[in-house]
């Protein structure tokens, strides 16, 4: 079972087990993880599920598509090199993913 480790800006860590094939955003919303807003529900239209991915996990992620890249210019907290939109990150078997949520999404 994949596990996502969410760290918020205060440093609190939440370890959430997810389902294979679900997105990190869905995993967060379903488990009430604060710091992920996901207003649009995953249609790449709101940029409110922004996360920073730990560098060693980042490299292992599938590359982002153009539209995700474009939407990252619309985040409330400016994007960094390790930014992703969590609605685009699908979990796979055995994955351990470490992400930090930004101070605000809106």
């Amino acid at each position: 079972m994949p596990t996502v480790h969410f760290t918020d800006t205060a440093g609190t860590v939440r370890d959430i087990e997810g389902n294979v094939g679900d997105s990190v955003m869905e995993t967060a919303v379903r488990n009430g993880v604060p710091g992920i807003v996901a207003e649009c529900g995953g249609s790449l239209s709101c940029a409110t599920c922004h996360v920073f991915v730990r560098d060693d996990d980042f490299a292992a992620l599938p590359p982002m598509e153009d539209m995700e890249d474009e939407m990252l210019y619309g985040t409330a907290v400016d994007r960094e090199d390790n930014s992703r939109l969590s609605c685009q990150l699908r979990l796979h078997e055995g994955q351990e993913l470490h992400v930090t949520t930004p101070e605000t999404q809106v």
């Binding site: 207003e39 649009c40 239209s45 409110t48 539209m67 939407m71």
Partner: protein, 425 residues
């Protein structure tokens, strides 16, 4: 439409869905103050069949969000269907005028919708419209200064600000003629009336002519972009097509037909509502004047409390249930987001306006899921710029006779026609 009695004992509307004679006070096209009726429906009959419009009316947050989310069961194909069937005269005008538009994206369904949305989304990105921010701000300031220079100290925030601002923005983005604001507003009013209005056959005629003109202009814009390119969304779509993106000329024109309406109509209303609702709550207006950082949260709360679109439609593709009520295949649903947004089950003290509400942004005014409003960020950006400049330049703004504000008759769009204001000299 047969009456419930004729169809007894098998209830044609799904168990418990028949509306009582008073319809809980709900009047589908009346927008002045629909909220008491919404509250009664949520409490008494959260899924009500309204035989006057032939739709199942949903009013609870969870039901509405679930319907939006389940696009495989609840199709958006009826989202742009005329609520009142087009009369023969209007039909002929539109046929003779070559009117073949229906929907840009909102009433298209997967896989067609998925294909087109992916292409359009790439041409409608935060980077593209964030570049417009200085121009939007300058447009706002110019109009506010003009209004504030009026010696009579009387303004109308619709006419003096909200009407122009988003219209110029979307015309600029699309590469249309920015001197034609009034023309596009006239066409848009006709579109709103023809699709969601309650018009007689005769009343439809002038609007039919407007829609013909509007659609011809969309076709013309596509042709012009093909001929001479440009740095705008239309040219980008044409370019994408040339590079192999699967989108036809008719589809590009349809997208323009959608954006040249949706791209300003509801944002004009949002900016109007920002002023109208905040000024109606002077203490909270004072908070925003004192601390403009509160503006984004205030905008979310305005979208929740007084969204530009309070109802949107879906069609059931199979027999199903919503909120425990049976819905037959083929039935239309009217989802009242204006009610969902005040549902106490989701929003504590939901009828109260409170800019510090922590979960205001869970409102459904932009929909939810695959059809979520493409322009949501642009709309909020423009409302933010407008409010920032209003509180800076006109902190003493006050409403004049707010009870006299009228709202246009419509099934879906809740549009204040004026927001009269004054200020201290």
């Amino acid at each position: 439409m047969s009456s419930p009695a004729e169809n007894a004992p098998g209830c044609p509307f799904g168990h418990g869905a028949e509306a009582p004679a008073g319809h809980h006070g709900y009047e589908p096209f009346q927008m002045k103050d629909p909220f008491p009726a919404y509250a009664e429906m949520r409490a008494e009959q959260p899924l009500m069949f309204d035989e006057r419009i032939n739709y199942y009316v949903a009013t609870r947050y969870d039901d509405i969000k679930a319907v939006f989310d389940d696009w495989e069961t609840f199709s958006s194909e009826n989202a742009q269907a005329p609520v009142r069937e087009r009369g023969e005269a209007a039909k002929k005008i539109m046929l003779d005028g070559g009117f073949t538009a229906y929907s840009g994206l909102s009433a298209r369904v997967p896989p067609e919708h998925t294909r087109m949305r992916a292409i359009v989304q790439k041409a409608f990105t935060p980077r593209r419209y964030k570049a417009l921010e200085p121009a939007i701000r300058e447009n706002v300031v110019t109009r506010l200064e003009t209004m504030l220079a009026r010696p009579g100290r009387d303004g109308d925030m619709v006419r003096d600000l909200a009407y122009d601002i988003p219209t110029i923005t979307i015309l600029t983005l699309i590469g249309a003629d920015t001197s034609k604001i009034d023309t596009y507003k006239r066409w848009s009013d006709s579109r709103a009336a023809m699709t969601w209005g309650n018009l007689s056959d005769e009343e439809q005629v002038p609007h039919a002519h407007n829609l013909v003109e509007y659609w011809q202009e969309c076709l013309h814009l596509v042709g012009a972009a093909k001929e001479s390119g440009g740095d705008n969304l239309t040219a980008d779509l044409v370019q994408a097509q040339a590079e192999g993106a699967a989108i036809s000329d008719h589809e590009i024109a349809s997208v323009l037909y959608s954006l040249l309406f949706a791209g300003h109509e509801t944002t004009t209303t949002l900016i109007s509502n920002c002023v109208r609702v905040l000024l109606a709550h002077p203490a909270q207006w004072g908070q925003v004047v004192a601390d403009p950082k509160k503006i984004p949260a205030a905008i979310d709360e305005i979208l929740r409390y007084s969204g530009s679109i309070v109802g949107w439609r879906r069609k059931a593709l199979r027999d199903t249930t919503v909120g425990g009520v049976d819905i037959p295949q083929g039935a239309g649903l009217l989802l009242l987001m204006g009610s969902a947004n005040r549902d106490e089950a989701r929003f504590e003290d939901g009828e109260a306006f409170d800019i510090s509400r922590p979960n205001a942004r869970e409102h459904l005014s932009f929909g939810f899921g695959i059809h979520y409003c493409l322009g949501n960020m642009l709309a909020k950006l423009q409302a933010k710029i407008a409010l920032e400049e209003i509180v800076r330049l006109a902190p003493t703004l006050q409403l004049v006779a707010p009870e006299s504000i009228t709202f246009r008759e419509n099934l879906s769009f809740r549009v204040p026609e004026t927001v009269p204001v004054t200020w201290e000299s």
